[in-house]
Subunit: 152 residues, 2 copies
DNA sequence: ACATATTCTACCATTTTGGTAGACATTTAA
DNA sequence: TTAAATGTCTACCAAAATGGTAGAATATGT
């Protein structure tokens, strides 16, 4: 039931880009150093996020990445699915990589795994990056002035 | 977010043993053939379930495995943790393999992963093998007489 | 033209997953 | 008391997934 490093990095990068929404393109290098993510690895991640339509990119000098839509229209679930594939714990209850199991109509494990999937997606497909930004700011304010940086 | 084959097999074996609770020891070979689980693999699984106190075993001729407690006192969560380790998607929100992340107090990803963990354990730590048996029987009855066997 | 970005294709080491093999210890029944 | 049947233990193994890295190609602003 583990979140991969890839998805973890993707979430952090996405929050970073959400906090910089409408401020123009941000370069890989900036995200990678500020969030301490290996740059070459981050390149792959941002590339797949672009391919699924979550990010836009600009090549060349003054290039970079930015959100393709408003942060409140992108959920954590969408990002995690793009990198890790299905969120469902077994394929027979997955929306994006569905495969029937042997005795689907009477499989009781399937039933409970469906419950688990719904519990997870209930959180991840509801939470948007706008929500994450709000939480990040609130969390900063609570901490007071000593907090010059915060981890996303 | 995947359930390992090991845990999947473990759940099936546990349901099988729950349906045979108080009927004496069941042999590995019987579970392995009826549930189509590789026997040698199943041996390891049942062994670890014994070591965590979920199963009792008897060696020698007429030996076998049986539940160490009543099915309503064993949850799916306990079994999955025994085989796959932590259920939490990241270690910084795990009960059994907790490790702090870099900026715990202000980490917003941690917050949402805590929500995800609670959502998952809300299902898995509540559902017992007695519940699973009930579901299995109901599901059989609904299907009618044609159903001679059913997949657990 | 040149410096600075992203893009694309390939590779690679380590860990995890999903098993298998075989010797050993224990129990029962004949 | 001995043979057969069973769980126990240690070790091994191939394939896939994970977490990266390397380097050339392509696009863009000045």
């Amino acid at each position: 039931m583990k979140l991969s490093k890839k998805s973890d990095y993707a979430l952090r990068a996405m929050i970073f880009l959400s906090l910089n929404y409408k401020k123009g393109a941000v370069q890989i290098k900036e995200i990678s150093t500020k969030e301490r993510i290996p740059q070459k690895f981050l390149e792959n991640i941002l590339l797949t996020l672009r391919k699924v339509g979550v990010l836009n990119s600009k090549m060349g000098l003054k290039g970079g990445y930015e959100l393709a839509r408003s942060p409140d229209l992108i959920t954590l679930g969408e990002v995690i699915r793009a990198l890790d594939g299905a969120i469902a714990p077994v394929d027979c209850v997955s929306m994006i990589s569905y495969k029937p199991c042997s005795e689907e109509v009477t499989c009781v494990i399937r039933d409970v795994m469906m419950d688990v999937r719904n519990a997870i997606t209930g959180v991840l497909d509801t939470m948007t990056f706008a929500d994450m930004c709000k939480r990040a700011v609130e969390s900063l304010e609570k901490k007071g002035n000593e907090a010059l940086t915060y981890s996303i």
